[in-house]
C-alpha cells in the first residue's frame, strides 16, 4: 500500500535530482561536438546534427589548449607531490611527536582556517615579486605546498597509529626518519591517496591565484585560459563548451576512479572536526 508509492517517490526524486545534476555536463559534451553557430538557434538543439571534432581541433591547433593542459598537469602534480611530503611530515609530527608548543601551534593553525585566503593574495603577490617568482610556475606552486587543512587531515588519521608500534621501533634503535619512512608512511597510505586527490583537485581547479600570478599566456592553467577565452569569445559557444570539456574531464575521471578515497577523506576531515 504505502511501500510501492513511497518507493516510486524516492526513486523518482533520485532520478530527477540526478538528471539535474548531470544534465548540464551532458549538454556541455553534446554542444562541444556541434558545428560552429549551431547552438545559437531557437529552439536550442539537444544533440549535434552532424557531430564534428572541429571545435577540439580549433582549441588545440589555434587556441593553444595543449599548452594549458600541460601547464595544469605540471602545476597540479608538483603541488600534489610537495603537499604530500610537507603535510604528511607535519601531520605526523602533530599527531605523534611531542615537542614544545605543539598543541598551541595546532590551535593557532585551526583558528587561521577562518581567514579567507584572498586576504593574503596581494601582499603575497608583492612578496613573490621580490623573490622573482611572479609569472613563473614556482609562483603558482609555492603557496599550495603546505595547507592547514592537509596537516589537519593527516593528523586525524595519524592519531590512530598505535604508539606501541613506534615505541618498539625506537627501542630497536631506529632513527625518527627511518620510522617515518618505513612504518608511518605505509600506515598512512589510505589518507595519502586522499590527500593526493584533494591537493590535485584543488590545484587543478584553482582560479584566482593563477589568474593573479601567471600573466604570461604560455604559463596559464586551464581555468585561467578558459576564463579569458570565454570573456573574449562570447559568441563561440561550441568552442567554449569544448574548452570546458577539456578542463573538466581529467578531474572528473580522477574522481570517478578514486571516489571512495576522496569521500572517505572528506568525512575524516569534517565529521571529527
Amino acid at each position: 500500500m504505502k511501500r510501492p508509492l513511497a518507493t516510486a517517490i524516492v526513486n523518482g526524486l533520485l532520478v530527477a535530482l540526478a538528471l539535474l545534476s548531470i544534465a548540464p555536463l551532458l549538454w556541455m559534451l553534446s554542444v562541444s561536438f556541434m558545428q560552429a553557430g549551431e547552438a545559437t538557434h531557437f529552439p536550442p538543439p539537444l544533440l549535434p546534427s552532424a557531430p564534428t571534432l572541429h571545435n577540439y581541433h580549433e582549441l588545440f591547433a589555434r587556441a593553444g589548449m595543449g599548452r594549458y593542459l600541460f601547464n595544469s598537469f605540471l602545476v597540479s602534480t608538483c603541488v600534489t607531490l610537495l603537499a604530500l611530503l610537507f603535510n604528511t611530515m607535519a601531520g605526523y609530527a602533530f599527531a605523534k611527536l611531542r615537542f614544545a608548543g605543539r598543541e598551541k601551534t595546532f590551535r593557532l593553525l585551526l583558528a587561521a582556517l577562518v581567514i579567507p585566503a584572498q586576504v593574503a593574495m596581494m601582499p603575497l603577490f608583492l612578496l613573490l615579486k621580490q623573490m622573482g617568482l611572479v609569472n613563473t610556475y614556482m609562483g603558482a606552486i609555492v603557496p599550495g605546498m603546505a595547507t592547514i587543512f592537509g596537516i589537519f587531515l593527516v593528523r586525524q588519521y595519524a592519531r590512530s597509529i598505535p604508539d606501541e608500534l613506534l615505541e618498539a621501533a625506537r627501542i630497536d634503535g631506529a632513527g625518527e626518519m627511518r620510522i617515518f619512512f618505513q612504518i608511518v608512511l605505509p600506515a598512512l597510505r589510505p589518507i595519502l591517496v586522499t590527500l593526493a586527490i584533494f591537493s590535485f583537485l584543488a590545484a587543478w581547479n584553482d582560479f584566482m591565484w593563477p589568474l593573479i600570478v601567471l600573466s604570461d599566456q604560455d604559463l596559464q592553467t586551464l581555468p585561467v585560459a578558459l576564463a579569458s577565452l570565454s570573456r573574449e569569445h562570447v559568441q563561440d559557444n561550441e568552442l567554449m563548451m569544448a574548452g570546458s570539456v577539456v578542463t573538466i574531464v581529467p578531474v572528473l575521471a580522477l574522481f570517478l576512479v578514486l571516489q571512495r578515497h576522496y569521500i572517505q577523506g572528506l568525512l575524516l576531515g569534517s565529521v571529527k572536526g
Binding site: 545559437t40 603577490f125 608583492l126 613573490l128 615579486k129 622573482g132 611572479v134 609569472n135 593573479i212 600570478v213 600573466s215 604570461d216 599566456q217 604560455d218 579569458s228 577565452l229 570573456r231 573574449e232 562570447v234 559568441q235 559557444n237
Partner: protein
C-alpha cells in the same frame, strides 16, 4: 590585443625576413583584461618588450615610469615623419613634452546604420545633429515595433556615452576635479537617457547580444555606434544580399556634426626591456605606410598617418570615408592616469541612468563626487610637487 593581435601575426614573417636574428614572440591578450594584465605584469616585472597600448592608458604607464621615451629613436628614423601623423592621436602619446608612444592605428566611434531600414522608416538622409537623430530613431522605432530597436548602446561599454560626451571638457582645473555637473555634460546625459526612456535602445550588455554582426543583419537594431574594425567584420559576416544596405555616417553632435574620442593604440617600448633596438625596428616597420595599408586590409583599422590614406584601398573605401571625416574632429580623453577608472564610473552611472534609477542631476552630482574622490591623490601630488605627477589634461 584582441582581433588586431590575431591579424598582426601575418605581417611578422616579412619583418623577420628583413631582420634576420630578430624573432618576434607574439603574445595575445584579451581586450577586456588587458589593462589589468599589463598593470600586473608591471608590478611583477614581467612586461614584454613592446606593446601596443590603448591611448587612454599611456598617461598611466608613463606615470609609473614604465615607458621608454622615444624622441631619440624618432629623430633617427626619417621614415617616421611626425608631420604625416594626425595631430590628435600623435598628441595622446606626448606627456610633459616627451614622446612615449607612436600611434599604430587610430579608431573612433561612429554610427553604422542600415540604409534600407532607415528608408523604410521614412528617413532618407542620415541624421547630422541630435535633433535629426531623435527624429530618425523615433521613426525607426515606430516602424520596427516593441521587439526590435533603433540603436544598440551596450550598457557594459563606456564608449557609447563617452563619445557622446567628449565634446565638453570632462575634468577641470588641470584634471583635479570632475566637470560632470556642467550644463554641457548634463545635456549629453539627458540625451543618453532619452534614448533608453523611449525604448529606442535595449537595456542590455553586449553579452546579451549573442552576435552583434548577425543581429545587425537581422535588423534587431538600425544604428550601431562602434569602431572601424567592424567594416571588415560586417563585410565578412553579413550575407551578400545586405552588402550595399549598410553605411557609416559621422557622429552627430548637439548642433551638427559632433566630436568623438581619438582612440586607438600606440606602440610603447618598456623601460626595462632588454631588446630596445629590436623593439624599435619592429615599430618602425609597422609604421611604414605600405605596411599600414596592408594592416588596414587585414583588419579594417585606420592608419594614423595621412599618406596611407592616399592608397586606393582606403581612398576608394566608401565605408571608411565617414571615419576619415570624423578623425578630423577626434579629441583625446583627459590625460590623467586615473582616467580609466573615471571612465568606468561613467559607465556605471550611465547604466543607472539608462535604467531610470537616477535622474540626470543626481547622476551628474554622483559622477563629480566619485571623480573628485578618485582624483584626490592626484591633487595631493600636484600640490606637493610630488613624484611623477605626469600629464596635462584637455
Amino acid at each position: 590585443m584582441g582581433f588586431e593581435g590575431e591579424q598582426v601575426a601575418q605581417l611578422l614573417p616579412e619583418f623577420e625576413r628583413r631582420n634576420p636574428g630578430i624573432h618576434v614572440d607574439l603574445q595575445q591578450m584579451p581586450v577586456l583584461s588587458a589593462h589589468e594584465k599589463l598593470l600586473t605584469a608591471y608590478a611583477g616585472d614581467s612586461l614584454p618588450d613592446v606593446t601596443p597600448l590603448g591611448n587612454t592608458w599611456i598617461p598611466e604607464f608613463a606615470l609609473l615610469g614604465a615607458l621608454d621615451p622615444l624622441d631619440e629613436e624618432i629623430a633617427a628614423t626619417p621614415a617616421l615623419d611626425v608631420a604625416d601623423y594626425y595631430a590628435g592621436p600623435w598628441d595622446s602619446g606626448v606627456i610633459d613634452g616627451r614622446t612615449y608612444a607612436v600611434p599604430w592605428y587610430v579608431e573612433t566611434r561612429i554610427p553604422f546604420y542600415r540604409v534600407d531600414l532607415l528608408h523604410e522608416a521614412g528617413i532618407d538622409k542620415p541624421p547630422a545633429s541630435w535633433d535629426e537623430w531623435r527624429t530618425a530613431m523615433a521613426a525607426v522605432k515606430r516602424k520596427v515595433g516593441p521587439k526590435r530597436y533603433a540603436i544598440l548602446l551596450p550598457l557594459n561599454e563606456f564608449e557609447p556615452l563617452l563619445n557622446l560626451a567628449i565634446h565638453d571638457p570632462l575634468l577641470r582645473d588641470d584634471g583635479r576635479y570632475g566637470n560632470f555637473r556642467s550644463a554641457g555634460f548634463k545635456r549629453t546625459l539627458a540625451f543618453y537617457k532619452e534614448i533608453f526612456d523611449n525604448d529606442w535602445a535595449p537595456k542590455v550588455a553586449n553579452t546579451a547580444i549573442s552576435n552583434v554582426w548577425d543581429e545587425f543583419g537581422n535588423g534587431y537594431y538600425t544604428f550601431y555606434v562602434n569602431g572601424p574594425w567592424n567594416i571588415a567584420e560586417f563585410r565578412k559576416r553579413l550575407p551578400p544580399s545586405l552588402a550595399d544596405k549598410w553605411m557609416t555616417m559621422p557622429l552627430p553632435g548637439p548642433d551638427g556634426p559632433g566630436a568623438s574620442v581619438a582612440g586607438g593604440t600606440s606602440f610603447v617600448v618598456f623601460r626595462n626591456s632588454r631588446h630596445k633596438a629590436a623593439a624599435w625596428k619592429l615599430i618602425a616597420y609597422l609604421s611604414e605606410p605600405r605596411v599600414q595599408v596592408a594592416f588596414h586590409t587585414l583588419t579594417g583599422n585606420l592608419p594614423p598617418r595621412r599618406s596611407p590614406w592616399k592608397d586606393p584601398s582606403l581612398a576608394n573605401d566608401r565605408h571608411a570615408r565617414a571615419f576619415r571625416e570624423q578623425l578630423e574632429r577626434a579629441v583625446p580623453t583627459p590625460k590623467v592616469p586615473e582616467w580609466e577608472r573615471i571612465a568606468t564610473e561613467l559607465r556605471l552611472v550611465g547604466e543607472q541612468v539608462a535604467n531610470d534609477r537616477m535622474t540626470v542631476d543626481q547622476a551628474a552630482a554622483e559622477l563629480d563626487r566619485r571623480a573628485d574622490a578618485i582624483l584626490e591623490k592626484r591633487r595631493w601630488m600636484l600640490d606637493h610637487g610630488g613624484g611623477h605627477a605626469a600629464g596635462a589634461t584637455q
